[in-house]
């Protein structure tokens, strides 16, 4: 499911036992014309950790606001868990399929990527089915006269034929179901990205930034059904994904001097503090008048759909500080306390879907059984426990139950699952 599975499972990489002591991309063993891959067999636990964290935060953010919501990073700055998720997905996908691209061929890598895309697509359709069940239930059971207008959202149930086909085409996407379609489109573009990266990584990144700029300049978007647009515009969000891929394929190593410089650190800290202050004014409106009006007018709205530059830079600042203060050899990464997060991060597609489902279920319980802060906190916590438990079971399947098959088969299966998912 993740880097290590992939790498150890892939045909060239039999060195499962390699120690993860080597510095991340610095210790590049395999060299390609333009890009370098990190050493074989090492597992970047930090990626798993933060992806796991992103999955937990996405789950909490999908629940109605409650006590735990205050622990999610979106309350402390511009960016949120989605940025982490997409960046790490780009990183791991490039890591896994970049190797296939270099060592097998373009066709093989593309074939594997497409299989991965299919899995994500099926996961999306599965979530849509659950959503349909939920919304149909609400439509038939909820008749509060206060909300007759909001019930207009049920209108699409009058045309299930059209709606379902549009959902299969990824054009009809209910709230909270935006990340997987974005992911599917990004993964579909991955062969092209990798092929271009193999040629010139920096040019690829520049092209990606150009597309991002063009998206803003010419207001490009993906249309949705019945109208509107994709809530996460892939044309803008690709920047983060490509940047992740670029880092995985040697960019991070080449940036290591910039990342280590104190100037970068202080700029990052200053930016994060400023962002925190701005966010504070949203929650403490009394502070609002301390914000200069011209700044407000320039800054707002901070657009999530098109990955606002403020969000992107906020993520960069967070990442820069993380890389600096959380070295890859940090012993805490092996501590049992972080194990649940890492486990979840290692099976991200399954855990992501589970998180969306649990958020639906949590809403349902809050609405049907009982509300209140205590119940709310309980639902959040048990959701996280369920995510952990399922991640553990999946690991168990991978490590124990599936071992009975032929080794090559299991390895190939893992390899394909790995792609950043």
């Amino acid at each position: 499911m993740t880097i290590a599975d992939q790498v150890t499972g892939s045909t060239i990489a039999g060195t499962a036992g390699a120690k993860p002591a080597e510095a991340k991309p610095v210790a590049a063993k395999s060299r390609a014309p333009a890009i370098t891959l990190p050493a074989i067999g090492e597992r970047e636990l930090r990626l798993d950790l933060f992806r796991g964290l992103a999955l937990w935060l996405i789950f909490i953010d999908h629940l109605p606001p409650n006590l735990l919501t205050w622990f999610t990073i979106r309350n402390y700055g511009f960016s949120d868990a989605t940025e982490i998720f997409i960046f790490i997905s780009g990183y791991t996908a490039a890591f896994v399929y970049g190797r296939a691209m270099l060592e097998s061929s373009f066709v093989i890598a593309t074939a594997r990527i497409l299989r991965r895309v299919w899995q994500i697509y099926v996961a999306h359709v599965f979530l849509f089915t659950i959503f349909l069940a939920e919304i149909s239930y609400v439509a038939t059971s909820f008749e509060n006269p206060l909300y007759t207008e909001e019930m207009g959202i049920m209108d699409f149930l009058k045309q299930p034929d059209v709606t379902i086909v549009q959902a299969l085409l990824l054009r009809f996407r209910p709230v909270n179901m935006d990340v997987l379609p974005l992911y599917i489109v990004l993964m579909l573009a991955l062969p092209l990205i990798l092929w271009s990266m193999k040629w010139r990584p920096d040019v690829t990144l520049a092209l990606s930034a150009l597309l991002y700029a063009a998206t803003w300049e010419f207001d490009l978007y993906f249309s949705a059904y019945p109208n509107g647009f994709w809530a996460f515009n892939p044309l803008a969000w690709q920047l983060l994904f490509v940047f992740g891929a670029w880092c995985a394929l040697g960019g991070a190593r080449r940036m290591s001097r910039i990342l280590a410089s104190p100037v970068t650190m202080w700029i990052s800290i200053a930016y994060l503090v400023a962002a925190f202050y701005v966010t504070l004014t949203w929650y403490v409106p009394q502070l609002g008048h301390l914000m200069p009006k011209p700044l407000e007018q320039w800054m707002y709205p901070i657009d999530k759909t098109d990955l606002d530059v403020l969000r992107f830079t906020h993520f960069l600042a967070l990442a820069a500080l993380t890389v600096r203060f959380l070295p890859r050899e940090w012993p805490g990464l092996k501590s049992p306390w972080l194990r649940p997060l890492i486990l979840c991060g290692q099976h991200s597609l399954e855990i992501f879907c589970l998180g969306v489902f649990l958020a639906f279920a949590g809403h349902f319980i809050l609405a049907e059984v009982a509300g209140g802060p205590a119940m709310h906190a309980l639902i959040s916590l048990s959701g996280i426990l369920v995510m952990w438990g399922v991640a553990w079971v999946i690991s168990w399947y991978k490590q124990v139950a599936d071992k009975s098959g032929t080794k090559t088969k299991a390895a190939a299966g893992n390899a394909d699952l790995a792609g950043g998912g």
Partner: protein, 256 residues
């Protein structure tokens, strides 16, 4: 006297218990349920024309442009425009005539509604327009940029017609939170309000506050109109208070 003290004690206890209990069983009937933090009821933007009209003792014509959530089906008199009129009449000097009319733009997006404003303002010449919008746009997932453009145009049209404007945002609807994405529309209304120095009546935050504090159980699937009536009463009160504050109608213009 004793009975009164006892009663208020019981009510107080009920109020304290309400947040933890499943609301709906304990919806306080008294307007105490309408309590809100003061920042939700105040604004930096001003309603100059309302202030002039009231100070000159001229009749105050208010037009509420809304949608289906402006009214309660088959209980028009309990809807928030009617409640606001009653409270304003109560709070402003007795000589002041206040008239609130309602224009329902059912199932219209902000853009579609804004298209009707020029004609609408020719027909009626209100001093103050309270424009409640956003829900239909959120349901139909209109591009937030387009939505912002439409709200901007609408506000400009209303202002050009010589009226003060108050923007009112969406209802807080926890039951449909997983289906309707309100935040982009809330944010954009806030932006337009800021840019045009128009007071924004934050209905969403108020209703969420009531729900979180346990005054109202907005999850309730009840078909009866009681909850809707109480919520509208509170919104009407808050709106009246908000207008008085934004027009800087001091004690001289107020009854109490």
């Amino acid at each position: 006297m004793k009975a009164k003290v006892l009663l208020s004690l019981i009510l107080l206890c009920a109020g304290l218990v309400a947040p933890s209990a499943r609301a709906g069983e304990a919806v306080p009937a008294a307007p105490a349920a309408c309590e809100l933090p003061s920042y939700l009821l105040t604004t930096e933007s001003q309603l100059h024309k309302v202030a002039e009209t009231v100070k000159a003792g001229k009749p105050l014509e208010i037009l509420v442009i809304g949608s289906r959530s402006t009214t309660i089906p088959s209980s028009e008199d309990s809807s928030y425009p009617a409640r606001m009129q009653a409270i304003l009449k109560d709070k402003l000097p007795p000589a002041e005539t206040v008239h609130v009319s309602v224009e329902i733009q059912s199932k219209k997006t902000a853009e579609e509604a804004a298209g009707t404003f020029v004609k609408l303002m020719e027909a009626k010449t209100p001093t103050l327009v309270i424009w409640q919008t956003g829900t239909v746009d959120a349901i139909r997932a209109i591009d937030p940029d387009d939505f912002r453009g439409a709200v901007t145009e609408g506000v400009a049209a209303l202002q050009n017609a010589g009226a003060d404007v108050v923007l009112m945002n969406l209802q807080y609807s926890p039951r449909t939170e997983t289906m309707i994405s309100a935040p982009p529309y809330l944010d954009n209304m806030r932006v337009v309000a800021q840019e045009h120095d128009v007071p924004l009546f934050d209905r969403f935050a108020m209703m969420r506050q009531w729900n979180d504090q346990g005054q109202f159980d907005l999850f309730s699937p009840s078909r009866g109109p009681e909850l809707a009536k109480q919520v509208h009463d509170c919104i009407g009160r808050a709106l009246a208070q908000f207008v008085i504050d934004a027009a800087h109608l001091g004690p001289a213009q107020q009854q109490n």
